[in-house]
Subunit: 391 residues, 2 copies
């Protein structure tokens, strides 16, 4: 057995890039010290009030408000030190060809500092951080400060997203044909910016919220028949899946359709793909896909709509068997969605009002229950064909 | 756009097999009726009292107790009908080349039966089933009754397991080289019995509980340096991951090592791979890997052990920074484990007593926090080298 020393060529380059940016960005601290100024970092605020929805770009973005983090301010000294500690851990991991996760960055930095209290000279103790939420927050500050996403610093994470389709990619040192995955699928890497698209033979991207439905569509050859790139986020999408979808949209100019459960949580999952998430708005610029379309399941797919002159896809009996009564938290969530600027279109109002009036929801699985052929050969292609989606 | 009509050759054969068995097994019902007997099904009980640990085979198995489900017994008529309903839905799905999930089987069967109450002739209503737990339970009865796992009936499910390594497999109509996955991984199909192993160049299987740690080891080329098949269950293992691991052990004769967090939940995850799960003991015979070895993280890896003449892998300072205080539920879980026959070895007693005495736990990520090279190039190969595992 020999030592682990493998790094793909792609990773070697990525490390060099990240090391260079980190060095440049944090050089300001050294410069402050060398030139006799109290060192400080100026970082964009990640607060809700500095999170702005830009209707033209259809994105949730950080505004221009900044805060200063100064070593010589008692209230900020700890945060300042935490930030430099985290930056140095990342720098070291990059130099040593490591691949830390956000969890082990927390462990790498966690220790107790002993100090002498003045004037008593008693010994005090202070932990660098106690909870991962603290180290995660510092890491986000570094992402904002350097404008480098953690994935570009080769910080890994668990990864749920999968893809199949007539698409060849280069990842690491390999070329992978995503149409040759058998009954399995390709599990997207945590650093999708390092993927190259080699050859594409597809007309659109279909993102399915639920892994089990993805499995069914894949197995029935949906992506083959309809020339689709088929993706699942397996629930709330992680960053890598979002970035992968964005790149398919931006670089390959493929239209992106999202299918989720018909309930406020499903609608929100779509909006995370399209607009970004509220807590991580600084990533939207890279991770969101503003052109993503909500294909369904819509409330108006279930009940039809006079306003839209639309017939329902379900019979009354199917509705009786398939729909689930909404819970109080679903209702609350729908009311919250109605207040988000990116849900304030006329089209979304119809869906949300229908939900609030009927107070029922529907899972994608119910459509597969009506028949996989119905889902794969009627519902999805019909809706794409007649343009029944929400922009 | 054309109709979805794809099925791999493997699936076509699997369908035929499952249709045949279902037909044969349920023919007894028809025969009873034709020959004038009240129709009934005789099925092994899936109760705790009929779940037996066999120490020789190291497996949790169903015992020999059976129950009869008879149409003409009022207490059983509903369950009898549910069982036939589920069997007919599965039969129909197989005939129509569908790929249902357990969730959509629930939807497919869910409806309301109206009947006339005698002697009043009022109309009564009865749902086939209300909750998925009911339809799932009926499906399990069918698995036990037919001795065919749901995967063999092409019932799909969401799937978390991933694999990389120097191993070629055939899945569906494709041959897939699991050493050419780039930075991504191969996501195991929900029906791993349909996989063929084509070419193997590996000395052992390493199963890592946590996806993020799998990503790190993969990225650092662990499987390449140490000739391993690297697998993650991404938490509690699902059936497909367990079956895949079992097949690697049984058919390729590869030793299987499992790494999990050092706490009772991690220990239990290992035991699910090795022995089976209590609630699904009827599957153990096919899904469990009795030869699987627990490599770590052990309590005695953290603290060392005089009894075992073993030095700790962590320094006192690392312990201070890495270990987490156990919660009340961890303690309770450890006491439960001590009562399970398959944890009643001397070696497990040492680990569980150490846990109950120290009342602390440790995540795998803490070892990666000490350094990925430590985890990949020292901890794992050292322990395998000197045989420091629990059988």
């Amino acid at each position: 057995m020999s030592a682990t020393s493998y790094s793909s060529k792609v990773d070697v380059k990525a490390r060099e890039r990240a090391l260079k940016v980190l060095h440049e960005k944090f050089y300001v601290v050294l410069k402050d010290i060398l030139e006799g100024r109290p060192p400080k970092l100026v970082i964009k605020k990640r607060t809700l009030s500095n999170t702005i929805y830009e209707p033209e770009r259809k994105l949730l973005l950080l505004g221009e408000s900044v805060f200063e983090r100064s070593l010589l301010d008692l209230r900020e000294a700890k945060k300042f030190m935490q930030t430099l500690l985290m930056a140095s851990i990342i720098y070291e991991a990059l130099s040593n060809s490591e691949y830390p996760t956000i969890r082990d960055l927390y462990y790498r930095g966690k220790h107790t500092i002993r100090y002498r209290k003045l004037p008593s000279k008693n010994v005090g103790e202070e932990n660098t951080w106690d909870e991962q939420s603290e180290s995660d927050s510092v890491l986000r500050d570094i992402e904002v400060f350097t404008n480098v996403l953690r994935e570009e610093m080769l910080i890994l994470s668990k990864e749920k997203g999968k893809v199949v389709g007539d698409l060849k990619i280069r990842s690491g040192d390999d070329i992978i044909d995503l149409s040759k995955m058998g009954h399995g699928a390709y599990s997207i890497e945590p650093t999708p910016d390092l993927i190259d698209f080699i050859e594409v033979n597809a007309e659109f991207v279909l993102v399915v919220e639920k892994d089990a439905v993805f499995q069914q569509l894949h197995r029935a050859g949906f992506w083959r028949s309809y020339r689709a790139v088929l993706i699942t986020s397996a629930g709330q999408p992680d960053r890598a899946t979002r970035r992968f979808v964005r790149r398919l949209s931006e670089e390959l100019k493929l239209p992106v359709y999202v299918i989720s459960d018909s309930d406020p949580y499903g609608f929100y999952i779509y909006s995370v793909f399209k607009t970004g998430s509220i807590t991580l708005s600084y990533e939207s610029e890279r991770l969101a896909t503003p052109s993503a379309r909500f294909l369904g399941v819509m409330m108006t797919d279930i009940f039809g709509s006079n306003k839209l002159n639309k017939k329902p896809y379900l019979t009354e009996e199917e509705r009786r068997n398939f729909i689930i009564r909404a819970k109080e938290r679903d209702i609350k969530r729908a009311r919250e969605l109605k207040e988000y600027p990116w849900f304030k279109s006329e089209r979304w109002r119809i869906e949300l009002d229908e939900f609030l009036e009927r107070r029922v929801k529907l899972e994608i699985e119910a459509l597969a229950g009506k028949g996989l052929k119905f889902l794969a050969d009627k519902y999805i292609p019909d809706k794409i064909g007649i343009g029944d989606w929400i922009e």
